[in-house]
């Protein structure tokens, strides 16, 4: 028999049951009962952020760097609404997250009470599921189900909104032994018929490619993918979020494709006769103009989420099922193959259009990221913001394994990188964690420096400062006739800022000092802010302009030819 305990205690019990050792949050009026109870639970570390958005991003970074559910906590009203961007970010990238919000007393719901907001209504479109709980009796079942939903099937954020009185009421209802929900399949069985068709398509293919996305990450099926590529001699291309699910140093890795993907990777897909799309959702940044995507290819789409099939690109053979199981079964059945002449063609494209790091006569962002890769031996956990630095990191950092790459892909959230790195650093003590950020994104969430300082957190910040909102500037240069509109990005004196926060600061503006700067940052304990003053108007190439097909790749000017039809 379970003894009576308060709703607040049930929440803490639920966290411990789920193995949550760190949560990210910010207190406020209606969550006071929970914050009071929290003092009795030293096994759950609460990290006080300085803005609730960063609690969500930190929980996201915790999840992306471990595969476990990240948990964030906020009070009602503005606390809850401040989580919104972080929750939407997690939904688009299928990140397992449980967001707990407080709300006003149940009898005050709907009265515009102080700090009341309809957080369930607000978050319906940006959560996998959400709840409002007004009774302590409902908490064990709801919380258990929330973690179950967040971490199974296609993962995603689940929000539990708990009224203040529900924290205070008591209940002796035990936690359910197992969660079942009619109409919801936690582990979708493999479609064996479709798998047979996929096997035949692969047997017949002469120019196959794999495009592997974050579905491989979240289903823990990286090993199956590696074995499949090996057995069937498959070129493996990654979506932005798929980086790390296949080692970049594997000879069969072609790197990222798409708008700023490697030319050889994108060109290989355009010329393929078979695309094995594994755990990707065919984002427009990956496909280019959809009508011209891989025009001669049969598309086999492996996914657990049926709503992804033929949403953007027609799936000739949709293979539904839990990815680890599908890939495992496919690996057994797939024919052993080799594709010699196809590989010769791909090697030719790779030789002709490599990702280029320009001469080191001045400091470029690309130099910084290439050096970061070299110095860390491609082993660090890397988070980024969104923009040019993100694309260069995707191109140049040679990710080796899953849970190493934390980047906001779907929502494209500036300000994500630093708080996500904080979450990853808490989740991975002893591991090297770098936030690669631009001067634009960093200024959105840099108040979290104090969070890193308070915990003497081993997180290094690689601030790539080009004085511009770089990617927007690049588009204005290329597509708006050089008319720069509101992209000049002033910055504070980061040295003084770091000093004010008590953060170790190093500035670097030359290639000569680059390696030493990164090495010094790596050696220094605790948080370090490394500011790299780089060339202001560097552009990201290759590039497929928005709305163009992937046949029209604007090559890096350093690669001689300006445009290469595939």
């Amino acid at each position: 028999m379970t003894t009576k305990r308060t709703g607040a205690k049930i929440v803490m019990e639920a966290l411990v049951r789920q193995g949550v050792n760190t949560i990210f949050g910010y207190p406020g009026g209606v969550v006071l009962p929970l914050y009071d109870e929290m003092l009795n639970w030293p096994q759950v570390k609460h990290v006080l952020v300085r803005h609730e958005q960063c609690a969500a991003h930190a929980a996201d970074g915790y999840a992306r760097s471990t595969g476990k559910v990240g948990v964030c906590l906020a009070t009602s009203g503005p606390g809850a609404t401040n989580l919104v961007t972080g929750i939407a970010n997690a939904l688009l990238d299928s990140v397992p997250m449980v967001a707990i919000t407080g709300n006003v007393n149940s009898w005050a719901l709907g009265t515009d009470a102080f700090q009341e907001t309809d957080v369930q209504g607000i978050t319906i479109p940006i959560t996998k599921h959400n709840y409002v709980v007004t009774e302590a009796d409902d908490l064990p079942g709801v919380l258990e189900e929330a973690f179950f939903l967040a971490s199974t099937g296609r993962k995603g954020p689940v929000l539990v909104d708990i009224t203040k009185d529900a924290f205070l009421k008591t209940s002796d209802i035990p936690f359910p032994e197992r969660v079942e929900r009619r109409g919801y399949t936690a582990q979708v069985p493999v479609d064996l018929l479709a798998l047979g068709e996929a096997e035949q398509a692969l047997a017949a293919a002469e120019r196959p490619v794999v495009i592997a996305g974050a579905g491989v990450l979240w289903s823990n099926s990286s090993q199956e993918l590696i074995a499949l590529a090996d057995k069937c001699d498959l070129p493996v291309i990654n979506s932005l979020l798929g980086l790390g699910v296949f080692p970049r140093n594997d000879p069969r890795s072609l790197g990222m494709m798409g708008m700023h993907g490697e030319q050889a990777a994108t060109t290989a897909v355009q010329n393929a006769d078979l695309v094995l799309a594994i755990g990707i959702r065919f984002d427009d940044r990956l496909t280019g103009k959809t009508s011209g995507f891989a025009p001669n290819a049969t598309v086999v789409h492996f996914d657990t989420d049926a709503s992804e099939f033929s949403k953007c690109i027609a799936a000739h053979i949709p293979v539904r099922g839990d990815l680890a199981q599908s890939l495992g079964a496919f690996l057994k059945r797939a024919p052993q193959k080799s594709h010699g002449s196809w590989w010769s063609q791909i090697r030719q494209w790779q030789a002709e259009f490599p990702i280029v790091v320009p001469p080191k006569d001045r400091l470029l962002a690309r130099h910084v990221i290439a050096e970061l890769d070299r110095a860390t031996q491609s082993e660090a956990i890397i988070s980024t913001d969104v923009g040019q630095h993100q694309m260069w990191t995707a191109q140049l950092y040679q990710f080796k394994r899953p849970y190493q790459w934390l980047s906001s892909g779907g929502l494209g959230t500036m300000g994500f990188g630093f708080p996500a790195a904080i979450g990853a650093a808490f989740a991975n003590p002893g591991k090297e964690v770098w936030a690669v950020v631009g001067d634009g994104g960093f200024q959105m969430t840099m108040q979290e420096l104090i969070t890193a300082v308070e915990h003497n957190l081993d997180v290094k910040i690689c601030l790539v400062n080009n004085g511009y909102l770089g990617m927007v500037r690049q588009w204005q240069e290329m597509f708006y006739d050089n008319r720069y509109s509101h992209v000049v990005m002033g910055s504070p004196d980061y040295g003084k800022l770091a000093e004010a926060y008590g953060v170790h600061y190093i500035q670097c503006s030359t290639n000569d000092a680059l390696a030493d700067t990164i090495e010094a940052a790596r050696r220094a304990p605790g948080p370090v802010l490394c500011e790299f003053i780089v060339e202001m108007e560097e552009n990201v190439f290759p590039m497929v302009a928005a709305g163009a097909t992937n046949d029209h790749i604007l090559a890096d000017p350093l690669n001689r030819k300006s445009e290469v039809p595939a």
């Binding site: 996998k128 109409g183 709503s307």
Partner: protein, 164 residues
Amino acid sequence: MNPEVHHYTLVAYVHDEDGTLNRMLSVLRRNRVTLDSFSAASAEEPGYARLTASIRGDEAIITRCVRQIEKLVCVVWCTFSGGGKNVARELALVELKQSPSDLFPIFPISEIHHVRVAQETTESITLEIAAHPYHMDELLSKLEGYGIRRVARTGVIALPLENA
């Protein structure tokens, strides 16, 4: 190119919980599908509800919507059809301003189409019409000549023919 607009009936079996309607309507709204009617009530099992929505849009977009609705955690199943595959009815209450004695000519219609008198006063008569959705508009247009004062329609309710 404008997508071709067709009429469809969407039927779903859902967990009867707070937020279920919002979630489903949110998917339709986001995909810019036109909602002509929406009807929801408890189903045969406690804790579940059946929903019927009459929607308009391009088939590809509707297909996408239905898949997105199917994956909602609150939805047990969801299906749609272009008509014919459902047993479907709509109920309407039609208040006419004529006195009952003027209405004698419409009684032949009533025999065919499940029309009966729901309420009579000295100034008006309220008819209750249960009809297949395809016939409802036709019936209402026939009644226009008798002076319609007010109409309340439930929207379509449907059961798919296959036992889903």
